[in-house]
Symmetry: C2
């Protein structure tokens, strides 16, 4: 058992928190969107929260924890849904919330510390230079850039730019290693993959350089359709319009849009399947023409004054990605979700087939993205949860139909990803974290190299540390 008292003594002068309820608060992310993870991880907690304010502080924490064999789980804003930031083996929560410096904003690039909140980056980039980040999750207002890089995959903006995994969507990273004397490693180009979406298992990100793009006064648009297939076809067609600048295109089936988007409810009929978009203002004439041609109804556009009580509505990006799930959960706690890729080119056919197969049990929610150069879509369907077994069955139906599932009811990189070892990330972990102290339990390839993915068994981390 690690000597936490000795560790604390060594860290004196740093901002520490040991009060169990406060530590537990900082030991949780949004894993609870999954009833499966909720059951498994609800009692997980770290032992100690350390809040560094500089790279030197981080190095000091890592060296001390290395010496005392204490696990370290890095925490951004805790908005992940795969349990990315849950300290499965206890130990130190390295809370990056105070490393928020934005070091420079130049044409096309921002350099900042990992704890910077994405909305803050965008606010400054917009005010100072008319720019904004290419990609952000629906938790734009609260998520940190480092957490996004370490635990995210894409989101709003992916319809234009693809995902974080795509070369060019992260410019440069600085990471610290978990060694007796932590080293700084700079990663650029293809090397970025070593750390992107590795949940902080193989290095602690201390500086992030991200590409910026032009900021616009995005128009939030909701278009209604009588048929789900028409909504999906419209979304796909607009995403394929190379000249129409959009930042977000999502489809939500009836009656979920009406029933769950409470503050937009007055704009959406219960029978309407909707497409939610963010559109550059100068593209609205072109978009309106496409809506007409597709026999859709433009039920809401944020650039046109809305008659009525003047009640404000949330931005379109808070109707999308996992905010769709969140809004559904608030109305109906029995709802959970999945994350599925419908691959190009027969994504719309597969969407229709799955919608037919599952009916009300799995309500269609699609997010259109560029994927390897083509437009495809992710499904984040709203799933009526009955049992873990049934959820696994649903997953398996999607996978059998050729739709890979990034299962958000698993806490490992592999099970939430490609169901195979990522040799590059594993090799980098061997180099940066020889003792395996960074976010233990998340990389099966490290914990159990002989794990058999074809068994379809859930990996259960033996070192799980509960409150």
């Amino acid at each position: 058992m690690a000597d936490l008292d000795a560790l604390q003594a060594e860290l004196s002068g740093l901002k520490l928190e040991t009060h169990p309820s406060l530590v537990k608060q900082k030991s949780r992310d949004f894993f609870w969107y999954s009833p499966v993870l909720k059951r498994r991880l609800d009692d997980v907690t770290g032992d100690l929260v350390v809040t560094p304010s500089s790279e030197d502080d981080v190095a000091r924490v890592l060296a001390a924890c290395y010496r005392h064999d204490v696990p370290v789980t890095v925490r951004g804003a805790g908005t992940g849904n795969y349990g990315q930031a849950m300290p499965l083996a206890g130990g130190v929560i390295l809370n990056m919330a105070e490393m928020t410096a934005i070091r420079s904003i130049e044409p096309g690039v921002v350099v900042c510390e990992p704890g910077a909140i994405m909305a803050d980056i965008d606010r400054r980039a917009r005010t100072e230079t008319g720019q904004e980040l290419r990609l952000h999750p629906s938790t734009h207002r609260t998520a940190s850039i480092g957490g996004f890089v370490a635990g995210g995959s894409g989101g709003v903006g992916s319809v234009r730019w693809g995902g974080l995994r795509d070369l060019g969507n992260i410019v440069r990273l600085k990471v610290l290693t978990m060694e007796a004397e932590p080293r700084v490693i700079e990663l650029a180009g293809e090397d970025i993959h070593k750390v992107n979406h590795a949940y902080g298992t193989n290095g602690v990100i201390t500086e992030v350089t991200m590409p910026l793009t032009a900021a616009y006064e995005w128009v939030d648009v909701v278009v209604g359709f009588d048929a789900l297939s028409s909504a999906a076809a419209f979304a796909d067609m607009v995403a394929n319009q190379d000249g129409i600048l959009t930042k977000e295109i999502a489809v939500v089936a009836a009656p979920a849009a009406h029933d769950y988007f409470l503050r937009h409810q007055r704009f959406i009929g219960r029978e309407q399947h909707v497409v939610v978009l963010m559109v550059a203002p100068f593209a609205m004439d072109a978009l309106a023409g496409l809506v007409d041609r597709s026999k859709g109804t433009l039920t809401y556009r944020s650039d046109v004054t809305v008659a009525g009580d003047g009640e404000s509505v949330p931005p379109a990006y808070e109707l999308c990605w996992n905010h769709t799930t969140l809004r559904a959960l608030r109305v109906d706690p029995a709802i959970t979700y999945l994350q599925i890729l419908f691959p190009y080119p027969d994504h719309l056919t597969k969407v229709a087939a799955m919608a037919d197969k599952f009916g009300d049990e799995v309500v269609t929610h699609l997010e259109f993205v560029r994927f390897d150069g083509n437009v495809a879509c992710f499904g984040l369907p709203l799933v009526r949860f009955t049992s873990e077994e049934r959820l696994d069955e649903i997953v398996s139906v999607f996978e059998t139909a050729g739709c890979p599932v990034f299962n958000p009811h698993r806490y490992t990189l592999e099970e939430g990803g490609m169901k195979q070892t990522d040799p590059v990330q594993l090799a980098f972990k061997k180099e940066t974290d020889p003792k395996g102290l960074l976010n233990p339990g998340k990389m099966i390839a490290w914990e159990d190299p002989s794990f058999d993915y074809s068994s379809h068994k859930t990996y259960l981390f033996p070192g799980l540390h509960r409150a």
Copy 2:
């Protein structure tokens, strides 16, 4: 016969030019890239050049010409290669060169007069707002925005944004009609197609609103490969990288790149097939990784100081599109070209098959673009011209292989385009130009509605007016 003296008298106070050699100079565009058009159109001339300085001037010219039944051919900078601006029936050349006002530059949009030169628009947009036009031809330094909209199709930037035909790439147009009392018509959304690429046959553009995008210090890059297929595969792969911001991706086969790009010759081996790119500076690390992975050689990048005599080289966009042809023509006057679409998804297979079939007679030059949402490529091959019959044969081989040819050896919209009537543009001409005085001879659908495209006969305008 029209009474030109009476017309001139009515236009007194406007800037007029009647000297035959000066009129002839303003009656010519870059039609002479085609030996076929050169033979047919070399003697074509207008009778009178009028240079308006305002929309009111334009209206005055159109009203007077309508009254006197004088044809009007609008001229931008005369950089078209399809004879777009050649006054086949003589009459007035409406020279827009002095209507160059840039009225406003806002986030995402510029409003200007049609004679504004694209390089001037970009210079002002960049200096004042860090923006630039999405698309421009390789004649960026000299081409006018109105000419581009009326006679162009895309070019540099199309790898990101598609072509001018794509909704959203032109925001709004103002046109004047050719009637007793010219009317102003404003076009937006899908209506823009009425006038875009109609060669000024159905309205005179007097104001253009174009989308702007973020300007960067684009890095000009040349990558060499041993095999043409490797160069094409690399170009296609980079174009499909959603996160790597590029503005231009072209392929030029060996030994053309070495032999014709004289000021880049020292960077290019005679055996090298090259890919020419414009890349955002912050994407260069990612690009360099892809070059390595593809076993290419980064032979030139403009962001790295070049040892040597410090001689300047032209920008990458002047190695591309029809500047490739121009550079070849300068070295070897027997060269001409074609414009061919290699459609997605088997564009690379078709490129290889055609390169095999023709050998040195048709040297591969590809321009990668987004086309209907996917990456495809145009071919602008360098063709060793022997006879008109052989050129037609080559065209027919491409078309039979499923590669539509936009034949630059024809001066009509239809033959240089989709080989069919464009009913929308024809209907708009009936409305805006009842007497058929705007750029006569260019729209077959107007001149000879019974023309049989399946005959593969060249349309010859009976009213051709020679010097």
